[in-house]
């Protein structure tokens, strides 16, 4: 669960690096749920400076290469202007139930936020 948007705070970076390390260690990341300002990780309109990381693009890559399900909370997204129109590849918009469902089905849930 990621609660902060890209760049403003480190939460999204930490979550991404944690996911990558977990996959490299042979674990399965079933789903990353983006809530609160975390939904802002899902915009395809970012153009970060060339000499810095591209937060959105590397989430997309994680989804494509490792089948990680990137779910953006619809209620939080509507408040913040994340809709199908500006949704980056690899993300999907769905309900809060997906968070609870993941918490039930997974062995662990780790929250990254502010």
């Amino acid at each position: 669960m990621v609660n902060e948007g890209p760049y403003q705070r480190q939460s999204s970076d930490s979550a991404y690096l944690f996911c990558r390390a977990a996959i490299e260690s042979g674990h399965q990341i079933e789903r990353v749920f983006f809530y609160h300002d975390g939904v802002n990780n899902a915009t395809k309109l970012t153009e970060p400076p060339q000499d810095d990381r591209n937060v959105v693009a590397r989430w997309t890559k994680l989804a494509e290469e490792h089948g990680v399900d990137l779910v953006v909370c619809v209620a939080a997204a509507l408040r913040r202007g994340i809709v199908e129109q500006n949704l980056a590849q690899g993300f999907r918009i769905s309900g809060l139930g997906q968070l609870v469902e993941s918490a039930i089905a997974s062995d662990r849930l780790v929250v990254f936020g502010d």
Partner: protein
Amino acid sequence: MLHIVNKSPGERATLDSCLAHVRPGHSVLLIEDAVYAATKGHAAAAKIQAALATAKVFVLAADLEARARAGAVIDGVVQVDYKGFVELVTQNPRVQSWL
């Protein structure tokens, strides 16, 4: 149980909240700006020292290095990389992030 703290003790009260709920045998992981808490001479280092009496304290090396504090970690605190972070999560049956 694994407790994760991510904010600097010079800025937020989350380290104190966390430490008030650490039980014997628990693990505490300091990431992001929280890594400062485990550095020599920091006003919060005494709290970490006290916690070490009954709990294990880990600190994320990547965040220490970014902040130029990897050489200043107090004795008894263990540096881990992201894979170590993953191991801590798998070894502990529950995780609480003190946000």
